[in-house]
Amino acid sequence: MLSLSGCGLAVPADPDGTLETVSGGELRVGTAPDGDLVRIEDGEPTGSIVDLVDGFASRIHAETDWTVASEETLVSMLEDGDLDLVAGGITSETPWVDKAGVTRGYRGIEGADGREIVMLVPLGENAFLSSLERFLDEEVGG
């Protein structure tokens, strides 16, 4: 990523510092069951999306803390700053664009059945969003 390291500034930056907070700490992720993407077994989420998010977490040296709830509840928690990321069977047609930052769509995720999957981050946390998109580009392609 291009950065203005000379000025001690990284571009893009997070106004609320999400990437900095979660790196080496805790990544609070919300999800909801959706076919093979996310399955809940004994209250623990598994599936291709969960593997993907765990992969991202280890990239930034974070531990994932999963919350399972309905999508609307998850988006409210994201807005209130109680979650850092919402991932599951959300597609690029998502109606939450005004309430959350939406990643680009990814088609190559296992179990998505050709759906273009997106993830939700807090609005305007652009460094966090960019680092997530960069990871997804590498793992599942554009």
Binding site: L4, L9, V11, P15, D16, G101, R104, P122, G142
Partner: protein, 325 residues
């Protein structure tokens, strides 16, 4: 006097004919250039309010071009019994439409920017994949804005502002003026996006507000100019800065006639040409009609903008008329 008669002269001298042809070419160039700009910005506009505002401004800037080209079709028509003054006002109407559109959309955008700032909406700008590289979309926005600014500021803005005085065309002048001021929009949108880049989310909304205030100001100026001309204020120069000097030229020509004791003129702007009513008080209260027609013809010969000239003998000059002093 030309073959087209006393009223509704629609032929132009060679210099103006060249200028009109050149203006039409520039307007078409502008429309093509701006359309490409709009399409390219659409690819990168994202969630940035500043970019969205700049993008809508580009769309709005097409209105004056189309208004000018459409009005040109009408002002060329000869006056008829149904339209005895010709259709020159089409230019003023085009000007008014462009002004009101700018004003309305500018206000809308300003409100959007302010509500976004109050609600503390953090603009979300992620990445794009370009040639296999993941790149922050903000850099692409900055690059696109820096490239598209070249057209209005260096090419068609200055070109049109040279043509506007030649054609005495206020619509063209306003259009050129807005194009030359387009760099402010570009700089503002770049500042907004870079602000988001370094984490100052409010800079995006502030830039959007700045751009929309510029649009409102353009809309207000254009609407005001168009309205006062349509309401027949006395003719002013193409930039509306001062009363048009031709009024004084007409009066001094009339005064130089041996049969004229006093003279004054009412001159209004029809959009690109003038409608002139000259009042004369003849010596000894008498005048020959041949003198009157000769005077009207001579006035029409002073300048190509003198269209629709009548010379009226009166006992006493009307107070409202311009005595050129």
């Amino acid at each position: 006097m030309t073959e087209t008669g006393q009223f509704g002269r629609t032929t132009l001298p060679p210099e103006q004919q060249r200028a009109i042809r050149s203006a039409v070419r520039w307007e078409i160039f502008t429309i093509v250039y701006t359309s490409i700009t709009i399409a390219v910005i659409a690819l990168v506009v994202g969630e940035s309010q500043a970019m969205r505002t700049a993008w809508i401004e580009d769309m709005l800037s097409l209105i004056p071009q189309f208004a000018f080209l459409a009005a040109l079709l009408f002002v060329r028509r000869r006056p008829t019994r149904k339209h005895p003054y010709g259709l020159h006002r089409a230019m003023g109407i085009g000007h008014l439409v462009a002004g009101v559109a700018l004003l309305a959309v500018g206000l809308n955008l300003a409100i959007e920017a302010v509500t976004g700032l109050i609600a503390a909406e953090h603009p979300t700008i992620g990445t794009v994949q370009l040639f296999g590289q993941t790149l922050w979309l903000g850099w692409l926005m900055v690059a696109v804005m820096a490239v598209v600014i070249v057209g209005p500021v260096f090419f068609y803005g200055p070109a049109k502002s040279k043509l506007a005085p030649v054609l005495h065309n206020k619509l063209l002048y306003a259009d050129a003026d807005m194009a030359k001021a387009d760099w402010q929009t570009t700089v503002a949108s770049i500042v907004g996006v870079l602000g988001v880049g370094v984490g100052l989310w409010w800079l995006d909304g502030a830039a959007a507000l700045f751009i929309s205030l510029g649009i409102i100001w353009d809309g207000f100026r254009n609407t005001r100019t168009a309205v006062v001309d349509l309401m027949d204020q006395r003719a002013r120069t193409y930039d509306s800065k001062e009363p048009h000097p031709l009024a004084a030229d007409i009066v001094s020509y009339l005064r130089s006639r041996p049969w004229v004791a006093q003279a004054a003129v009412r001159m209004r702007d029809q959009g690109q040409v003038f409608h002139i009513e000259a009042f004369v008080v003849p010596h000894r209260g008498k005048v020959k009609v041949t003198d009157l027609s000769a005077a009207a013809e001579r006035i029409a010969d002073i300048d190509w903008k003198m269209q629709d000239v009548v010379v009226i003998p009166v006992e006493q000059l009307p107070e409202e008329a311009d005595t050129g002093r």
